[in-house]
C-alpha cells in the first residue's frame, strides 16, 4: 500500500491510502465521524455518518476516499446537519443528471458469493443478467411496481425493468444495546476484521462472542452488560452464566451478537405482490436472530430511544410495533430500523409474549439526494404554435394557457384592443382544438353528442355548440362546421377550446366505440395553424392578400390568402368582422408575416390573449373553464338557447331535464359598474349576503365603464335574480349581454367583394407562399425540421391495403389501426374507403440519427423496450414527449408533433451531453 493524497475533515487534512474508505482514513487519523457508536463498516448502522461535499447523511464506510473531498462531522452526538439554503438555482436545462433505462431477464442485487452464483446460473441458462453490486457502489434504492428496480451507480441512476429479481443482500450484524454503546472503539466483528485488514490500529481488542479474523484479541465468555469509558471505550463488563460480572479493560471491543437479514428490498418486493417474480437467497432469506430483550441502553441510536423510553410508552398503552415506533420515533431515522428492529421485536415479545413483524419496508432502501433521484425527470412540456418564435421576436410576453404557450400581450393591450375595434388585427389562435369527422355515422355521432341539432346544418355552414357530460354539465364549447360538398354522407369539422381538444378527442372516440358507430376521426389540432383576422378592415386586408371570395357570416370555405391555401371561417369572438384562417401549420409563418406587411398602413398589429379576453368579454362571450365550473349546466350559464331538448337523445339530456326541474340556485350574468373594474374573483354581495363572485372583469374603453360576468345567487329560492348588487363596496347592475354592439351589426356586417385590383391579383395568383417542406427521407442528421407527410384515416382494411401499396416505396407509419402516415403524396383515389380522410400533414418534425447515436439517446430517454426487428415502427414516450420512431438498420428517424420539437431537441441534446 502506498500513501495517496489527502481529503479534508472539518478543514484539516486527512491522509488516505489506496482503497481506503473515508471511514478507514478517518479512524486511522483518530477521528470517529459521529463521535461514537458501534461501527459496522457495511452501511447498516448510522454511526459513520458525515456531510461529504455538501451532502449530509453520507455513510463514510461506503465511500471510497478521494483527494479534494470535504468532510464535515455534522452528525456528532446525533445532531442534525444544517440546511445550506444558499445553493445556486437550477438553470432552464437542469436535470438531475444522467439516467439509463435497462431491460433484462434477471437482476441480481448483491454480489456476495450467493449473488455471484445466482448470476452465473442465470447466465448459464441463457438469460440476460444484470448484477447490482454494492461494493461497486451500485446501490438499489427501491423496488417498485412494474417491476422497476431503481439503483444509483457511479455513472448515474439506473432504472431496470427485469423479468425476475434475485435478492442476495446478505445479513447485517446485530448491534449491541447496553449502557455505553455510544462510546467510540466499538465495532461489529466483521468491522473489526475489515479495519484490521485495512491497517487501522485498534489497540487492545476484547471480543464478545465469536472473535474477528486476522486480529489479535482477548475472547471473553458471557453476555454483554455495559461499556465503560470517557468518550472512547476503556473497559467492557460482561456477565457470566452464573450471573457474576467481570470487567475487561480494552481500547476496542468486537461484538458478535448474531444477524438480522438485510431484507428491506426483499420485503419491499414481496409487498408488491401480483406476478412479480422475486427470489430471496442466502443470508437475506434466513430468519432473523432475535436477541435477548435489552435491559438498559439506547435501542434506536437515530432517534435516541432507550429501553426506559420503550417501557414508558408500553406502560401507557402503546403496545403495537407501529404505535411504539410512532410514539418514540424509534426506527424512523436514517437507518430506518436497521439497528433497532431486532430489539423492538425482542422487547415487545418480552412484554407482550408475541413476536411482532417488522414495520413495512418502504423506499428508499438507500438514501440518495433529490438531485440524484430527479435524474431523467422533465417538466410537463408546454407545446408551442408554429408562430411561437414570431411572437417572441415581436417581444410578446408569453403565457402558459390552456396547455400552450400563447402571447399574453405584445405591448399595451389597450392599443391591441383599439386596433381590433378601429382597424384590423391578427391573433394566433392555432391552439384551438380542431377535429375532422366523416363516415357513414358521422352525423349520428354528432347528433348524439351535441345538445344542438346537427342534421339541419347546411353544407358550408357552421353552428356554435356546447358539449355536455352525462351529468348535463358543460365540458367544452366550439363550432360544428359542415363541409361544403352536398353529395354523400356529410363530413364535419369541429373546434374546441385550446385546453379541451385532448379530452374532446377521447370523449368522441370513447362514445363512438361504445355506440359502435362507423366514423373516421382526425384530430388536427397540431396539424393546422389558425390566424384570426379581425377588425372593421379585416376584409380589406384579405382582399389585399389576394383572397377572391370570403364566406358570409356563419359560413366557411377554401380560399388562397397571400398564396397560402386556407379554410376561412366567418365568425366572431371579438365582436368585429372576423375571418379565421385555418391552414397547414407549415405555412403559418409565411401567412402571418405577409398579413402584417400588407396590413401595416391599415394599422394592423397582432393582439394577444389579454386583449382577446377583454374583447370577448365586451361581447359577453363565456370562456369555458374561466366563467364555467365543472358543475355548470346550460341553464346556470344562461345558455339554454344552445340546448334543444326536443331534438332527440343526446349525452346529458336526461340530466338537463332532471336539473331543470330543480329551482335555479345561481346564474352566470352580465354586470356593469363604474370603472375601475374589480378583480376577477371579487365577491358579489346582495343586501349584505354573499351572492357570488366575478369570473371575468375588464374596463371597457368602448363603453367607458367596467363590464363583468359573474355568478349571482337567485333570491328567495326561485329564479329571481337581483337587479342591483355590491362589488368591492360599490354598486353594480345586472345587465343583458352583450355589453358592446348589442345587435351584433359589427360582426355581421355584409361585405361586398370588390373588383380585384392588379396588385391583389398578383398577391393571390403570384408565386405560392406555401412553404416547401422536405419529406421524411430527406431530413438531415441530428436536427429537427418540419416535414411533409400524408396522413390518412380510414377503415383498418383500407389502411392495410394502403400500407401494402406503399411498402418498399415510402416509409409508412401505422400510428393506429385506422390511421397511417405515409412519406409520399397520397390521393383520396388511392384509398379504398370512400369515407377516408386524406390530408397533407405538416404537423410533425423529424430528425435522423445514426443507429449508435440513437441507441445512446434512447438508453437515456426511453423507458420502454424497443422492437428488435428492422425496419420497425414504434411510438411512445421518449424524454417524456410523444415520439414516433422509424428504426432502420443504419439509422433511426425520430418524429414528434412539431409543437414539441424544440423541447425534444433540447432534451435529446442534454441526454447526449
Amino acid at each position: 500500500m502506498s500513501p495517496g493524497n489527502g481529503f479534508r475533515v472539518d478543514g484539516a487534512e486527512v491522509v488516505f491510502l489506496n482503497r481506503d474508505s473515508l471511514l478507514d482514513a478517518m479512524l486511522r487519523a483518530g477521528l470517529h465521524p459521529t463521535g461514537g457508536g458501534c461501527l459496522c463498516c457495511a452501511g447498516d448502522c448510522p454511526h459513520c455518518l458525515a456531510t461529504v461535499d455538501g451532502v449530509g447523511y453520507v455513510r463514510t464506510c461506503q465511500v471510497r476516499a478521494a483527494s479534494e473531498m470535504s468532510v464535515s462531522r455534522d452528525h456528532q452526538g446525533g445532531s442534525y446537519p444544517p440546511l445550506s439554503l444558499d445553493t445556486p438555482p437550477l438553470t432552464p436545462d437542469s436535470t438531475g443528471g444522467p439516467v439509463r433505462y435497462l431491460h433484462c431477464d434477471v437482476v441480481v442485487i448483491g454480489q456476495g458469493e450467493t449473488g455471484r452464483a445466482a448470476a452465473a446460473e442465470a447466465e448459464a441458462q441463457g438469460k440476460s443478467v444484470l448484477a447490482l453490486d454494492v461494493t461497486e457502489e451500485a446501490e438499489v434504492i427501491g423496488i417498485y411496481p412494474g417491476p422497476l428496480v431503481v439503483a444509483r451507480s457511479p455513472a448515474g441512476m439506473l432504472h431496470v425493468e427485469p423479468g425476475e429479481i434475485v435478492v442476495a443482500t446478505g445479513a447485517a450484524e446485530i448491534q449491541p444495546v447496553a449502557p455505553g454503546s455510544d462510546l467510540s472503539g466499538i465495532f461489529t466483528r466483521r468491522a473489526a476484521a475489515r479495519l484490521a485488514a485495512a491497517g487501522v490500529e485498534l489497540g487492545r481488542v476484547v471480543a464478545i462472542g465469536e472473535p474477528p479474523t486476522g486480529l489479535q484479541c482477548e475472547v471473553v465468555e458471557g453476555t454483554l452488560v455495559r461499556f465503560e469509558g470517557e468518550g472512547s471505550v476503556s473497559a467492557v463488563v460482561v456477565a457470566t452464566a452464573g450471573g457474576a460480572q467481570r470487567s475487561y479493560s480494552c481500547a476496542a471491543v468486537s461484538v458478535a451478537l448474531g444477524f438480522q437479514p438485510r431484507d428491506v428490498l426483499a420485503r419491499m418486493a414481496n409487498g408488491i405482490g401480483g406476478s412479480l417474480r422475486v427470489r430471496v437467497i442466502g443470508e437475506a432469506a434466513k430468519p432473523a436472530d432475535v436477541p435477548a430483550c435489552p435491559q438498559e441502553g439506547i435501542v434506536c441510536p437515530c432517534s435516541q430511544v432507550s429501553v426506559a423510553h420503550l417501557d414508558a410508552v408500553w406502560d401507557r398503552g402503546f403496545r403495537e410495533m407501529e404505535l411504539v415506533k410512532r410514539a418514540t420515533l424509534a426506527g424512523t431515522g436514517t437507518c430506518q430500523g436497521g439497528v433497532c428492529i431486532p430489539y423492538l421485536r425482542s422487547f415487545l415479545a418480552d412484554r407482550g409474549a408475541e413476536l411482532q413483524s417488522p414495520f413495512t419496508a418502504r423506499p428508499l432502501a438507500k438514501q440518495r439526494t433529490l438531485g440524484e433521484i430527479a435524474a431523467g425527470a422533465y417538466y410537463h412540456a408546454t407545446p408551442r404554435t408554429a408562430l411561437d418564435a414570431e411572437h417572441r421576436r415581436l417581444g410578446a410576453q408569453m403565457e402558459r394557457s390552456g396547455g400552450w404557450f400563447r402571447p399574453w400581450r405584445y405591448a399595451d393591450p389597450a392599443e391591441e384592443c383599439h386596433a381590433v375595434r378601429e382597424a384590423v388585427s391578427i391573433c394566433d389562435v392555432s391552439t384551438l382544438g380542431k377535429m375532422r369527422v366523416s363516415g357513414p355515422d358521422a352525423l349520428e355521432l354528432l347528433e348524439r353528442l351535441y345538445p344542438t341539432p346537427v342534421s339541419t346544418l347546411k353544407p358550408g355552414r357552421s353552428r356554435y355548440a356546447l358539449l355536455l357530460d352525462e351529468k348535463g354539465y358543460v365540458l367544452d364549447d366550439g363550432l360544428i362546421c359542415r363541409d361544403e360538398r352536398a353529395d354523400g354522407p356529410p363530413r364535419y369539422r369541429l373546434t374546441f377550446t385550446s385546453g379541451g381538444s385532448t379530452l374532446a378527442e377521447l370523449w368522441m372516440r370513447d362514445w363512438a366505440e361504445s355506440w359502435g358507430l362507423d366514423v373516421r376521426l382526425m384530430n388536427q389540432t397540431m396539424s393546422l395553424g389558425a390566424i384570426n383576422v379581425t377588425g372593421p378592415m379585416a376584409a380589406e386586408l384579405l382582399f389585399r392578400a389576394g383572397t377572391q371570395t370570403l364566406p358570409s357570416f356563419g359560413g366557411h370555405g377554401v380560399s388562397r390568402v397571400a398564396g397560402v391555401s386556407c379554410r376561412i371561417f366567418r365568425l366572431s369572438f371579438t365582436g368585429e368582422l372576423s375571418y379565421e384562417l385555418h391552414h397547414a401549420a407549415g405555412d403559418s409563418v409565411a401567412l402571418w408575416r405577409r398579413l402584417l406587411e400588407l396590413g401595416d398602413d391599415l394599422g394592423c398589429r397582432p393582439h394577444g390573449l389579454d386583449a382577446l379576453l377583454r374583447l370577448r368579454l365586451e361581447k359577453g362571450h363565456i370562456l369555458v373553464g374561466q366563467d364555467t365550473d365543472f358543475d355548470s349546466t346550460p341553464r346556470r350559464i344562461a345558455h339554454e338557447w344552445a340546448v334543444k331538448l326536443d331534438k332527440g337523445d343526446f349525452v346529458g339530456r336526461l340530466s338537463v331535464l332532471r336539473t331543470n326541474r330543480i329551482p335555479l340556485d345561481r346564474q352566470l350574468v352580465g354586470l356593469e359598474m363604474e370603472s375601475p373594474a374589480p378583480i376577477e374573483g371579487a365577491v358579489i354581495w346582495h343586501e349584505g349576503e354573499f351572492a357570488g363572485y366575478v369570473t371575468s372583469s375588464t374596463d371597457s374603453p368602448a363603453l367607458g365603464r367596467a363590464v363583468m360576468l359573474g355568478w349571482v345567487a337567485t333570491v328567495d329560492g326561485d329564479a329571481t335574480l337581483p337587479a342591483e348588487v355590491t362589488i368591492a363596496d360599490r354598486p353594480a347592475r345586472r345587465v343583458a349581454t352583450p355589453f358592446y354592439d348589442r345587435e351584433g351589426q359589427r360582426a355581421r356586417v355584409v361585405v361586398e367583394t370588390p373588383a380585384p385590383t392588379a396588385s391583389a391579383v398578383a398577391a393571390g395568383r403570384g408565386r405560392s407562399n406555401a412553404t416547401s417542406l422536405p419529406r421524411l427521407e430527406e431530413v438531415g442528421d441530428g436536427s429537427f425540421c418540419r416535414v411533409s407527410l400524408s396522413r390518412v384515416v380510414a377503415t383498418q382494411a383500407a389502411i392495410s391495403e394502403l400500407a401494402e401499396v406503399f411498402a418498399g416505396e415510402a416509409v409508412c407509419l401505422r400510428v393506429a389501426a385506422d390511421e397511417i402516415l405515409v412519406d409520399a403524396p397520397v390521393s383520396a383515389e388511392q384509398v379504398s374507403d370512400p369515407h377516408a380522410l386524406v390530408e397533407r400533414e405538416s404537423g410533425f418534425a423529424a430528425a435522423r440519427f445514426a443507429v449508435e447515436t440513437a441507441a445512446d439517446l434512447l438508453r437515456a430517454t426511453c423507458e420502454w423496450c424497443l422492437p428488435e426487428s428492422r425496419p420497425a415502427f414504434a411510438q411512445g414516450s421518449v424524454a417524456d414527449l410523444p415520439v414516433k420512431l422509424w428504426l432502420e438498420e443504419s439509422h433511426v428517424f425520430f418524429l414528434v408533433p412539431e409543437p414539441f420539437a424544440l423541447e425534444l431537441e433540447q432534451r435529446l441534446g442534454e441526454a447526449r451531453s
Binding site: L83, T332, L364, G371, Y379, E399, F690
Partner: protein
C-alpha cells in the same frame, strides 16, 4: 434523548361490549374526534370506535399534517376556518403537546392565470374570515428567502397568496389526544376489530358485524378512509366516491431553518419542514383510482425535480422515505358528511387530500348531529343529497393537493 417522544398520552384499552349507543367505524382522526366531542360536549360516552388495525394507521398517520382554511368557496372557508380555530386551542384543551406550529402557507403562481386565481383566493378568504393576502414576488422572497423567484428560469414566480394562519401539527399526536380524551370520559376504542357487515332492521341500521362478533348500536357512523364505498355498500348505499392514491416523501432530518409551507399549483407540489427537521414533500393524487398503498417512483422523481426548481437547496438533501395514502374523492372536491337517508347510519367521507385539517370541525359537528339529530348549519351544505339536489360545491381550484 429526543424531544419528540410522546410522554403524556395514556391509552386505556378494554374488551368490546355487545351494545353501544354509538358505534363509529374507523379509528382515525375523524372517528376519534367525533367520539371525543360526543363525550366532552354532549356527555355521550357509551360509544365505541372500531379500528381494524391500530389507531391512526390509515390516512391519519400518512397525511402531511397541513392545517389551512384558504379554500375557494364560502362553505369551505367557513368550515376549515372553524377547524383551524379548534386546532389552535386543542393543545390547551387537551393538555397535550400536538407540536402545533403556525407557520403560514405560501401559495405561488407562475402565470397570469395563476396570479388571477390567487387574487381570487385572497378575496374570497378575506370575505369569510380566513387570513389570506395576495403577495408580490418581492414579498414572497421576504417570506421565504430560499425561493428562486426565477423558478429555474422556467417557472418564474409572478405572485401568490400568503395564508398567515396556516399551520402544521403532528398527525399521530392529534389522533392520540382525541383517543385519550374520549377514553378518559369512558368511550371505548377497539383496535383490530374489523367491521364485516351492518345489521339492519327494515330500513334502519342497528349495529355492526365484526370479526369480534356482532355489536348493536343506536347510531352507526362510518368514518373510514379509503374503503368507504364498501361500508356504504353494506348499508345499501351507492355513494359518488372514488379512491385514489396520494403519495408523499421526507428527507432526512436537518436543523429547523425553513418556515412556511410552500405550495405551487402550476408545478403541483408542496413542501414544509416538519417539527423534527425533515423536509416533507407531496404532490397531486394519482389519476388512476386505486386502493393500493404501493409507492411509485414516477411520483418521487417528478416531485423531487419540481421542488428543487423553486427551492434549489433541496437538491443536496437525501430522501429518507416515501409512502402512500388513499384518498376518497368526491365529484365536486368537497367532503360528504352527515345523514345518508338510511336511518341510524351517518357518514363522514370525501375527505380527499384535505382530511387532516378538517378533523376537529368534522368531529365537533358530527357529534352535534349525532347528539341532537339535527344537522348543524356549518355542515349542512356538505350533505350527501346535494348531488341529487344539484347543489354541488365545486371547489377544484382550491382543494389543491394538501
Amino acid at each position: 434523548m429526543n424531544p419528540y417522544m410522546e410522554r403524556k398520552v395514556e391509552l386505556r384499552w378494554c374488551e368490546p361490549k355487545q351494545s353501544y349507543d354509538v358505534v363509529i367505524i374507523g379509528g382515525g382522526g375523524h372517528g376519534l374526534a367525533t367520539a371525543y366531542y360526543l363525550a366532552t360536549r354532549h356527555g355521550i360516552t357509551n360509544v365505541a370506535v372500531l379500528e381494524r388495525s391500530y389507531v391512526g394507521s390509515g390516512n391519519s398517520g400518512r397525511n402531511t399534517t397541513v392545517i389551512r382554511a384558504n379554500y375557494g368557496i364560502p362553505e369551505a372557508v367557513r368550515f376549515y376556518q372553524r377547524s383551524l380555530d379548534l386546532y389552535q386551542r386543542l393543545e390547551d384543551e387537551t393538555d397535550r403537546d400536538l407540536m402545533h406550529m403556525s407557520k403560514g402557507v405560501l401559495w405561488l403562481a407562475h402565470s397570469e392565470m395563476g396570479v388571477r386565481q390567487e387574487r381570487a383566493r385572497a378575496e374570497i378568504n378575506q370575505a369569510f374570515g380566513a387570513k389570506t393576502d395576495f403577495v408580490t414576488p418581492e414579498e414572497v422572497k421576504k417570506l421565504c428567502p430560499p425561493i428562486d423567484l426565477s423558478g429555474g428560469g422556467v417557472w418564474p414566480v409572478m405572485g401568490g397568496t400568503y395564508h398567515s394562519e396556516g399551520a402544521t401539527a403532528r398527525h399521530d399526536r392529534v389522533v392520540w389526544a382525541f383517543a385519550e380524551g374520549a377514553m378518559r370520559e369512558g368511550a371505548h376504542v377497539h383496535q383490530r376489530v374489523e367491521v364485516t357487515g351492518l345489521t339492519r332492521v327494515g330500513d334502519r341500521v342497528t349495529g355492526v358485524e365484526t370479526n369480534a362478533g356482532p355489536i348493536s348500536a343506536g347510531v352507526v357512523l362510518s368514518a373510514v378512509g379509503g374503503h368507504v364505498t364498501r361500508i356504504a355498500d353494506m348499508a345499501g348505499l351507492r355513494i359518488p366516491i372514488r379512491t385514489h392514491q396520494l403519495q408523499a416523501f421526507v428527507t432526512n432530518h436537518y436543523q429547523l431553518q425553513f418556515d412556511p409551507i410552500v405550495s405551487s399549483s402550476d408545478l403541483l407540489f408542496y413542501v414544509s419542514q416538519t417539527a423534527r427537521g425533515e423536509m416533507l414533500m407531496g404532490a397531486e393524487i394519482d389519476r388512476q383510482p386505486s386502493y393500493s398503498y404501493q409507492s411509485g417512483h414516477p411520483f418521487l422523481r417528478a416531485t423531487a425535480f419540481r421542488a428543487m426548481t423553486l427551492l434549489p437547496f433541496l437538491r443536496d438533501l437525501r430522501v429518507l422515505r416515501q409512502w402512500t395514502g388513499v384518498c376518497d374523492m368526491s365529484p365536486d372536491y368537497s367532503p360528504v358528511l352527515g345523514k345518508t337517508g338510511v336511518e341510524g347510519f351517518y357518514i363522514s367521507t370525501g375527505w380527499g387530500t384535505w382530511g387532516f385539517k378538517a378533523i376537529p370541525a368534522s368531529g365537533e359537528q358530527l357529534a352535534q348531529l349525532i347528539a341532537t339529530g339535527e344537522t348543524p348549519p356549518l355542515i349542512a351544505p356538505f350533505a350527501l343529497d346535494r348531488f341529487r339536489r344539484d347543489r354541488t360545491l365545486a371547489d377544484r381550484g382550491s382543494a389543491g393537493t394538501h
